[in-house]
Symmetry: C2
């Protein structure tokens, strides 16, 4: 392939598209089962319940400290399967790339995506590329669908949550949101701030063996506060969060204070929020803290019955309380 | 939902996005198994080999005679499973919608998409929406991944094709390409030209019972000529097509002559090309001709050994021969 930039002909089903698929996608996503000539491919699966999830990715900039849109597309979809209690096995990949996009940048992103699939132990089973006309489409959008297997009969979900249950988070929140914002805005504040984008599979698998695990979710768009509101809305319970217990890295806190963001509403891409029975709290925290991605895991809140409209309530370090409202205006669009 | 146009807040994970999902997507795509609050959903499947396929859709205009991007996204993915010999069961849906897009138009397209899922007997198991900044992204892009089940041990594919095999097409070619082109260019030539966009599932299921079925494909981007080249490249056989036998509707032929297009390179979205053993030809044609979508099914070519570089060769009505070269420059970008 001699071209340096993507042209409309790379999306037309003909020779240029075949070369792009063979020489770029198939080379990085080497999968002996991937038949690039087939309309649909067989995906051998172990026994269990089949789960699917899907996500689109439009993050800007496409590359940022700690990750890029390619790795994010894998982590995001792998993580949605992981928090549902499934082991991810396959992904499908849709690429929407703008005419004129630099092929070297596309290759860098596809190579990063491929690395993320190897880390998570998933194979790209099928893919498709469409070329968008120049000036339409901010360079590159991705969509990934994941297929995973969950142990049959596994009870996990918001329906399992009870009053008295505890809420845990696997690590500091807001890193991804702040890292992408700083990469975008070029405040010259970057410092050591990196996205937390990573597979959460080790974190979720560590909890699957623990009795009393009720629910897991990865706080992405809308952050921890949005997960808190989802729990409240689905269960009708009050969620009491203790701000002093919620891990937020010092540079994230500093940037948020300077710019007026609330870290509880900023996206993470490598964290897990879990709800567990009270007696499972210590075991779950201990299991997480043994893992590289869980050393700062913390108990951050408790669920209780309410007589009013159920709310997510944050106790501040000074002893006050404020309601974590559902997100309306987005502080940071295009974060994933 | 009181908004008339999509805003960035509809993609941010908060209240506006939840309302868009609940009041527009979930309402049209009513699926009792679809849990809009879950990260990943279980998809019960009958026994058999699990197949996946994925496709992106960027057609312009979004609505055209005979279809729209919503129906096309379903047909395209259902059809890829169908020609692989699978029965489609589930889709995932990714929506990339531009800020400022009219919600009434989005609803029309989602309703059409929902109708197509009901026709094909598939359920949307998971979805995701991202909002693109105004001026980026031509209104709406879709990506769909399909999951289907194929009878175990079914041998179907380019590897099964042999010299002497016959090539059939289920109906006239080029309708979709010409219909979209005319809708786009507003030549005032529309007449009765409509896209052939439809599920091909009845056509593929009619052939699955026939001994000697080797391979099926739906000729989309790049048209019949591109499928011919794929067969040639994968088998190393010459493919002899007889132009006089290839069904092309009269108005499609007239528009192509006027504008200098070759209908053999134009996309179809509801046709099947099948390769069958010689003795299966009559049975396959008879099975197709009983179906509403197959009344104009035809035998159009034969495969043979070659001593040279294998080629797709078209015999013209005047007795001449020309090679159908692999597509390079796209006559009609953004056709699907």
């Amino acid at each position: 392939m001699q071209d340096t930039h993507v042209s409309l002909a790379h999306g037309n089903g003909g020779r240029y598209m075949r070369e792009l698929i063979e020489e770029l996608f198939a080379r990085h996503l080497a999968n002996p089962r991937l038949d690039v000539d087939a309309d649909a491919v067989a995906i051998p699966l172990p026994p269990g319940d089949v789960l699917v999830t899907t996500d689109g990715f439009t993050v800007q900039p496409l590359e940022f400290p700690g990750g890029d849109i390619g790795a994010l597309a894998v982590h995001g979809t792998v993580n949605d399967l992981a928090v549902a209690g499934a082991r991810p096995h396959y992904l499908t990949l849709n690429v929407f790339v703008e005419e004129g996009f630099e092929i070297a940048a596309l290759e860098r992103i596809v190579a990063s995506l491929a690395r993320a699939t190897r880390e998570a132990g998933v194979a790209v089973a099928a893919g498709d590329t469409k070329v968008l006309r120049r000036g339409e489409g901010g360079g590159l959008y991705l969509a990934t669908t994941g297929v995973g297997i969950r142990e049959p009969g596994r009870r996990l979900g918001l329906r399992e949550v009870r009053a008295g249950d505890r809420v845990l988070v696997s690590g500091p929140v807001g890193d991804h949101g702040v890292a992408v914002m700083l990469a975008r805005e070029q405040f010259g504040l970057r410092g050591d701030l990196r996205s937390d984008a990573a597979t959460v599979l080790p974190l979720t698998e560590a909890l699957l063996g623990i009795d009393g695990l009720r629910f897991m979710r990865d706080p992405t768009r809308g952050g921890l506060a949005t997960v808190a509101n989802e729990i409240v809305r689905a269960t009708g319970l009050d969620l009491h969060l203790d701000e002093a217990l919620i891990p937020v890295r010092e540079p994230v806190r500093a940037v948020c204070e300077m710019l007026g963001y609330d870290p509880l509403y900023l996206a993470c891409e490598g964290r897990v929020v879990a709800v567990v029975a009270p007696e499972a709290t210590e075991g779950a925290l201990a299991a997480w803290r043994e893992l590289p991605g869980g050393t700062e895991a913390a108990l951050i809140g408790t669920l209780s019955e309410t007589r009013n409209r159920a709310r997510a309530i944050l106790r501040t370090p000074l002893g006050g309380e404020r309601v974590l409202e559902e997100l309306e205006d987005d502080p940071l669009p295009r974060i994933c």
